[in-house]
């Protein structure tokens, strides 16, 4: 385990090195309309977020669909260019990297995709899928070296190296996801972004892939950015978690702190909505149901973005945008009226567990 993981407490300056620094990141997708295709507005997918990623940690990004977590991930990897803001990787600014600089960057950061069925080319053998990164970056050029490297990777992720010449359709969902992991590991990246890596898999297979990712992260000292909508999976995997809502980070804290003492009412509602696989806890908790849908990111509400669905909202919430600042317990949160421990205890089953 890294130092960062064991010592983080949200706001306190974190020991360990920052591998990535994100500052004031924006991504607006323009909307064009009319005969002249003039820009009439923008989808504010990511709307001013700042955070750091520590070396060797697992950082979780959670939020409802459309909150901008996948866009954030793609910006970090520079799969798309940000509208504004800065992204630093090991101290070097990458927000406007181009050409060879960008290609070199790709060796440091890789991605694991959600759907193991559509993210592998059905016409290529597993061997050539995993060795593609070597081809692109001109590595292991001599004869048998590439095959050997690929088979080593297959072994690491728990695939039979003899299946080198098979096609993706010959593998089950869990195995395909392992192929995706092997491909991501091929260039020995420092950062891996996993976007919903297990949500397409069956329950019993999910655990296999989660364990694999956790082991690899520990053994290879990877920095993992883990995106998922399943909050129990995120808690299991991540050292720190950032909660996103409408393109902003609304709460950021260590996993333990976030799940036992959420401060932002939105986080509280998310935690409360997770079904717990324990009938007694489920019966005891007061389910906090959020009403309505997420407002449109084209035209986010003024003030606190969550005020339209928040049960604690007051006048100030409608007018003043709360900054991301430390609250009780060290969580960073954007809220005028953070949840009290009593309110948390009533709604969040994990809090109850920690208290007892």
């Amino acid at each position: 385990m890294s130092i960062a993981a064991s010592e983080t407490s949200g706001s306190a300056p974190v020991a360990g090195e920052k591998i990535m620094e994100v500052d004031g990141l924006f991504k607006h997708f323009p909307i064009h309309a009319g005969f002249f295709r003039r820009q009439v507005g923008a989808v504010k997918a990511v709307d001013g977020i700042s955070f750091d990623v520590m070396r060797g940690e697992t950082l979780g990004l959670v939020g409802e669909s459309g909150c901008g977590k996948s866009t954030t991930a793609r910006l970090l990897l520079r799969l798309m260019a940000p509208t504004d803001g800065s992204i630093k990787f090991e101290g070097q600014e990458i927000a406007d990297a181009k050409g060879p600089e960008l290609k070199a960057l790709r060796r440091e950061m890789q991605m694991i995709f959600q759907d193991p069925y559509s993210s592998l080319n059905p016409r290529k053998t597993v061997g050539s899928i995993i060795s593609d990164p070597f081809v692109i970056h001109g590595m292991h050029k001599e004869g048998g070296a590439r095959k050997k490297a690929v088979q080593e990777l297959m072994d690491i992720v728990g695939l039979n190296p003899e299946h080198y010449n098979r096609y993706p359709h010959e593998f089950s969902g869990g195995q395909r996801q392992r192929i995706g992991v092997a491909r991501a590991l091929a260039l020995k990246p420092k950062v891996i972004v996993a976007d919903e890596p297990v949500s397409a898999l069956d329950v019993s297979i999910q655990a296999q892939v989660l364990n694999l990712l956790r082991d690899l992260q520990r053994d290879l000292g990877l920095t993992l950015i883990f995106i998922a909508h399943d909050l129990s999976v995120v808690r299991h995997m991540c050292d720190r978690v950032a909660v996103m809502y409408l393109g902003r980070i609304v709460e950021l804290a260590t996993s333990d702190q976030l799940y036992s003492h959420p401060r932002m009412p939105y986080t509280g509602a998310l935690m409360s909505a997770v079904p717990v696989a324990d009938p007694r806890l489920a019966a005891a908790k007061k389910r906090q149901v959020l009403t309505g849908d997420v407002p449109s990111p084209t035209n986010p509400p003024p003030g606190c973005r969550f005020h339209t669905r928040c049960w604690k909202a007051q006048e100030i919430c409608r007018n003043e945008d709360p900054p991301l600042e430390p609250k009780d317990g060290g969580n960073l949160a954007t809220c005028h009226f953070p949840l009290t421990d009593a309110e948390v205890l009533e709604r969040v089953p994990t809090a109850r567990n920690v208290e007892s």
Binding site: A207, N211, L231, A277
Partner: protein, 355 residues
């Protein structure tokens, strides 16, 4: 209370395919009473969806071999004519499908699709059916229902589409609601809304609900009773508390220990079930779970276990060849975090010696 609302007895659904006979459902029995919620849990390919589609009469294809009995309100559904089924489907029994986007017709207005179902079963005017559609949309919590009924499915968000599906299913006050993965495609917050909605409607109308899911959390919150399916069979059946507190089938143990739990320590190791679900064409002999079971014995590969009551709890049934006392010892070790292999060594070595 009389006879149960839905009685499924020894239901088998086999499909003839070019590759061989697919035993999608292989002899399952369950009952659902009015106002009760039954949860059916299992991995994909365990036959949970096929069994409920058969109840609705939706698997009657040329290559399907269906046997057993399905009685609804005392009426036999398997033998019912297609016409009879049409009058029951969407009226007495309604279904909520998993994917609301592909289950709603993209060309028709949401209100029209709900009203169509009402007109099919009730002798009402178009205007009355439309009013009913609007009423249902407001019941499931869609704001400005009169305006939204006039919208197309693509104008709805995922959660609203699923609510529209529920409105459609409930428009004729069904006695039985079958929900096939009703919340799988949704965010947790919307999932909570939908679960709350189904629960509320159930308590208001005394509807029986069959909820099919792979999410143990969802059944823990909703179901009164749970059936765990594996390879076309029910392998364990009990009330919800028992399934989570004292399960007696290795597959159920596997499911429970392969999900990360919000109420456990963060360092807990997930214990996946090794291997993958078997092919339904070529089931392993004996207990069909044996290739993945950590506690398998030579004998289990030959004998087919039957769903039998567990000692001390007649409502709890399990299809496992292990002795009940052994199972209880194993589970008491597993729940404290012991790995299956060690649990096997601890419990079964002693037992093997005794034999």
């Amino acid at each position: 209370m009389g006879a149960p609302l839905l009685e499924v007895e020894n239901l088998k659904v086999h499909f003839e395919t070019e590759d061989g006979l697919v035993k999608a459902v292989d002899g399952i029995s369950y009952t659902v009473d009015r106002g009760q919620t039954l949860g059916i849990v299992g991995e994909s390919g365990s036959g949970k969806s096929v069994s409920s589609l058969t109840v609705m009469g939706l698997t009657r294809s040329r290559n399907a071999r269906i046997s057993g009995t399905v009685r609804f309100n005392g009426k036999d559904l398997l033998g019912a004519s297609e016409e009879d089924m049409r009058s029951i489907r969407g009226n007495d029994i309604a279904m909520i499908f998993q994917d609301p986007l592909s289950s709603l017709h993209p060309f028709y207005k949401v209100g029209a699709q709900i009203a169509e179902g009402v007109r099919a079963h009730r002798d009402v005017s178009k205007a009355q059916a439309w009013d009913r559609a609007v009423e249902m949309l407001s019941l499931v919590g869609i704001p400005e229902p009169r305006k939204r009924a006039d919208a197309y499915p693509h104008e709805f968000s995922g959660g609203m589409r699923q609510r529209a599906m529920i409105a459609m299913a409930l428009a004729n006050d069904p006695k039985l609601l079958i929900a096939d993965e009703p919340t799988t495609a949704l965010d947790v917050t919307v999932q909570a809304q939908i679960l709350e909605l189904i629960e509320r409607l159930q308590s208001e109308f005394d509807t029986a609900v069959v909820v099919i899911t792979h999410d143990l959390g969802v059944v823990a919150e909703m179901a009164d009773e749970i059936s765990v399916m594996y390879a076309g069979r029910i392998v364990e059946k009990a009330d919800t508390d028992t399934i989570f507190a004292a399960p007696e089938h290795p597959y159920t143990w596997g499911l429970l220990s392969s999900i990360p739990r919000l109420d456990a320590s963060r360092d807990e190791e997930l214990v996946p079930i090794p291997g993958r679900p078997p092919s339904l064409i070529n089931l392993p002999g004996g207990c069909s779970f044996h290739p993945r079971c950590p506690y398998v014995r030579e004998a289990h590969k030959k004998v087919d276990p039957k769903l039998e009551p567990v000692a001390g709890n007649p409502g709890h049934q399990s299809a496992c060849l292990l002795d009940s006392s052994v199972r209880r010892k194993l589970w008491s070790e597993l729940r404290t975090g012991v790995k299956p292999d060690e649990a096997r060594a601890d419990v079964m070595a002693a037992e093997e010696k005794a034999v």
